[in-house]
Amino acid sequence: MLPHRDPATQPEGVVAGYAQTASRWPAEPLVRRPQTRTELGAPAPHRRLAPARGDLAGHGAKRAAGQLIHLRARVVDEDGAPVAGALVEVWHCNAAGKYIHPNDTNDAPADPHFYGAARLVAGDSGLVELRTIKPGAYPVPDTRGWWRPPHIHFSVWGRVWLSRLVTQMFFPGEPLNETDYILNAIRDPAARSRSLARLMPTERGPANALVYEYQLVVRGRGATPSLP
């Protein structure tokens, strides 16, 4: 039996300032259900999904524009134990704030050397590493000056169906973090801080990349909050 997700670790469903949430989050309360074999079953998505692209930054003439970063994200379960072999999907916009997605209407240039999507498999210590570039900030259409701070999307599978975690990682010290409706939908400052990566001492990483560390805690008291 898994304890229910602690609401304090999660964002609000309807967020003032983010208009679409009021049309999409259910009005009725979520129903508590018993946990049976199916909720606690372990899907194996890697049987359907192959790993893709372990390096988004590229090299030489094919190097993506932007600040090179090296991400070290660790997947852990509710007890803090690493989830070895966890499948992790990562996606983010380019340094100018443009996604590869056709629905992105932001008037920012695409980068021919950047394709912002990767699928990784965690090692024995639950670690995935990704060499990429720091994403840019971008304005949200049809709002009064809401800009998304730089952030990286993660989708991760824990051990069981109920451990699915989809979230966004933010960079520490970004001024736009203070006004972002999505990050600040997590009311608890301690939980919110778990959505921020940690900048590691520069002498510990490759000479030309900033190293960021981040934890994906799929459930539990210290869970990483879900974000869209």
Binding site: H4, R5, Q10, P11, E12, G13, Y18, Q20, T21, S23, R24, W25, P26, A27, E28, L30, V31, R32, R33, P34, T36, R37, T38, E39, G41, A42, P43, A44, P45, R47, R48, L49, A52, E89, W91, C93, Y99, I100, H101, P102, N103, T105, G116, A117, R119, V140, P141, D142, R148, H153, S155, W161, L162, R164, V166, I182, A185, S226, L227, P228
Partner: protein, 161 residues
């Protein structure tokens, strides 16, 4: 106007046919499970990511010839579509398929469950009686239809995860 997640199109492709795995055909009755996902004003939603998880026709999870997990995204008409097999009843549960939805404007993933008929089931029984019917799919030629209304009239019941 769309705000993220700009979930890469490629991530949502190629995983919605559960009837074949590594060249092996899943045993059981093949069915198509499809439906339309709409929001408060009834507008269908494009590019909603839909993941499912279910037992196979013999009640096995993650079997050698059936992994039980699939993913797709809705099209511009708000329609998702899976090919799968009808699951068996397992350990006091009615046959069912678990659904998980991810979308812009959904701050958290939403979980619901599709049933094939009403009956005694602890997860169905957790829903107020008047709303249980909403979790039962409609039988259509070749499969089942399960519409999902995120909010508003005839709202789909969702579970706390």
């Amino acid at each position: 106007m769309t705000l993220g997640p700009f979930f890469p199109r490629e991530f949502a492709q190629g995983a919605n046919d559960l009837t074949v795995l590594e060249g092996r055909k899943a045993p059981g009755e093949p069915i198509e499970v499809s439906g339309r996902i709409t929001q408060l004003d009834g507008r269908p939603l494009d590019n909603v990511v839909v993941e499912i998880w279910q037992a196979d026709s013999r009640g096995r999870y993650d079997a050698p010839d059936f992994c039980g997990w699939g993913r797709t995204a809705t099209d511009a008409r708000g329609v998702y579509r899976f090919r799968t097999v009808k699951p068996a009843a397992v350990e006091g549960r009615l046959p069912h398929i678990n659904f998980l939805l991810l979308y812009s404007g959904l701050m958290r993933q939403l979980q619901t469950v599709m049933f094939f008929e009403l009956g005694a089931d602890p997860v169905l029984d957790a829903v107020p009686a008047a709303r249980r019917e909403r979790l039962v799919a409609k039988r259509v030629t070749g499969g089942y239809h399960f519409d999902i209304r995120l909010r508003g009239e005839d709202e789909t019941p969702f579970y706390d995860d």
